[in-house]
């Protein structure tokens, strides 16, 4: 939407350096899997939701997902923005700036988002959201499909990101104790609903999987997180291809698990031994390669209770109001 008055025309942020991969993402596509079109959307939905919340936005507006860091931008008009996600060195005009609160940039100000060592993905939101091409009801970028964002591609140097000319009159800050914990610690336990081919695979196989420890492999991306550990020989020769959801734990022919993430293929033929709790997909999205993980089984009922609890916690958490 364009306003006639030049004072309120949308401004933009210019990308000086995009980092390894920065993508425009909203909350993702819905109801398109039957066409072969994937979910997309933020890998870590909780940090994305917080970014929009702290920008004063309704849920799901288009924000930036910055993988690892390395994004540098210059403001070409007055713009506010907030960076959430794992801790990263952030500067505005080379002076340290805070995450988890709305920052105000003046025309000509330069923001540098450095590399995070605590996790993998940072989120940048602006009041009113970034402007992006919508495809199939969503602005989320899927590079493989060439859909959403800026012609379906990651940000490049020189891109001008249009932002709505909305300004908030107060800034809110999220205290540390209300933020997600990103570091996996010493062997993070991820919660799994055992299902699908778990029954065919049998009990001893299941025992082995839940006793095993895995490391996040470096060939992981938005499509799937690969894990490495003791190979599991499942002996399922052939499975008719069937639909695949985010969180599905596929076992490849070499016996290693791949967890399907936001850009999952919609149909696949590898056997699956269960589905990761969506909240733990968000956590896993932040684990760097080499991080150690293990799995614990939960029931679908317990999963729903955890979802409800997290939803309530997000809705009732109160950021602290700051004076400008």
């Amino acid at each position: 939407m364009r306003s006639a008055a030049s004072a309120s025309a949308p401004g933009f942020l210019e990308v000086i350096a995009p980092g390894p991969q920065s993508l425009l993402q909203d909350s993702g596509r819905r109801g398109q899997w039957h066409l072969g079109i994937t979910s997309a959307g933020p890998m870590d939905r909780l940090s994305f939701d917080w970014a929009n919340r702290l920008a004063g936005n309704p849920p799901g507006l288009t924000a930036l997902e910055v993988t690892f860091g390395g994004l540098r931008m210059v403001a070409h008009h007055s713009v506010q923005l907030v960076v959430t996600g794992p801790q990263a060195p952030i500067t505005v005009n080379q002076r340290p700036a805070s995450q988890w609160q709305l920052l105000a940039l003046k025309p000509g100000d330069r923001i540098d988002i450095g590399y995070t060592r605590e996790g993998c993905r940072l989120y940048v939101a602006v009041p009113g959201g970034f402007h992006a091409t919508s495809a199939f009801g969503s602005s989320s970028t899927v590079v493989r499909e060439g859909l959403g964002g800026l012609d379906g591609r990651p940000l490049l140097s020189g891109d001008r990101l249009k932002v709505a000319n909305e300004h908030r009159h107060r800034s809110f800050f999220l205290p540390l104790e209300l933020r997600p914990v990103y570091a996996p610690g010493d062997g993070a336990a991820l919660r799994v609903i055992p299902c699908l081919q778990a029954r065919i695979l049998g009990r001893s196989w299941r025992r082995k999987f839940f006793a095993a420890r895995y490391r996040v492999a470096s060939e992981s991306d938005r499509m799937g997180i690969r894990l490495e550990g003791e190979p599991l020989d499942h002996g399922i020769a052939r499975l008719l291809s069937e639909a695949v959801t985010p969180g599905a734990i596929q076992i490849t022919p070499d016996g290693q698990p791949i967890i399907m993430m936001r850009d999952h293929q919609t149909i696949g033929g590898y056997p699956k031994l269960g589905t990761l709790l969506s909240l733990d997909c968000d956590r896993l999205a932040q684990y760097p390669s080499g991080a150690e993980v293990c799995f614990i089984p939960i029931t679908p009922g317990r999963a729903l209770a955890l979802l409800r609890q997290t939803k309530r916690r997000f809705e009732t958490a109160s950021p602290i109001a700051l004076a400008w």
Binding site: G31, W33, H34, L35, A135, R144, A243, G268, L304, L307
Partner: protein, 235 residues
Amino acid sequence: MPKPAGPRDEVSIVTAGENAVMVYFGDRISPDVGDRVRQSASRIRSTLGDSVLELVPSYASLLVVYDPWRIGRGTLRRTLNALLADVEAGDKGSIRRLDLPVYYGEETGPDLPRVAAHGSIDTTAVIALHSNREYRVYAMGFAPGFAYMGSVPNALAAPRHASPRRQIPPGSVAIAGEQTAIYPQQSPGGWNIIGRCPVDLFHPDKSPPTLLEPGDRVIFRAISRDEFLSLGGHL
């Protein structure tokens, strides 16, 4: 005419995640099973409406992703059981038949010799067996507009490559076991490539965006290199 009372695969409903169930209709590829999957999908869509977030049919399964804040797991399972109890094979409504031109040859189909070797036949016989035969679309997925079709004759049912190719050109016509498909976009893939089709299978701005949908019948027609180029095909 009475239908033959053949053996019927049991329907089973299995958990697939915190807000998803998979309905299985046996474990084989057959037109009867395909019909039951498709009819079940349309019943579920019309009965459950917005409570269903994703509905993905495949050869013998149907994924149902639901909104857990609108419908509980127990209610969903009971509803599905009631809805699917009496779904029979047999096509309702009209069937779409499409002819798709294919330029078969080693220039576009590097795996023609591999498929020929699998069936102990020559490449001309591969082309003759793959074309002029009706396939059914069983599922859409993997990538936008990618249609899983079956079944190819046994002589052509070569297994996929152990390690996938990095880049398969758009329009590539491929075989993996008894399945056949066309890659709509450039993508990695492990299927055997035997030719190329000049027709666009996915266009995000068109409605519907995909040329094919489950239940469609497809016949491949062999065309020459010149015909392929004049139809807009790219080499």
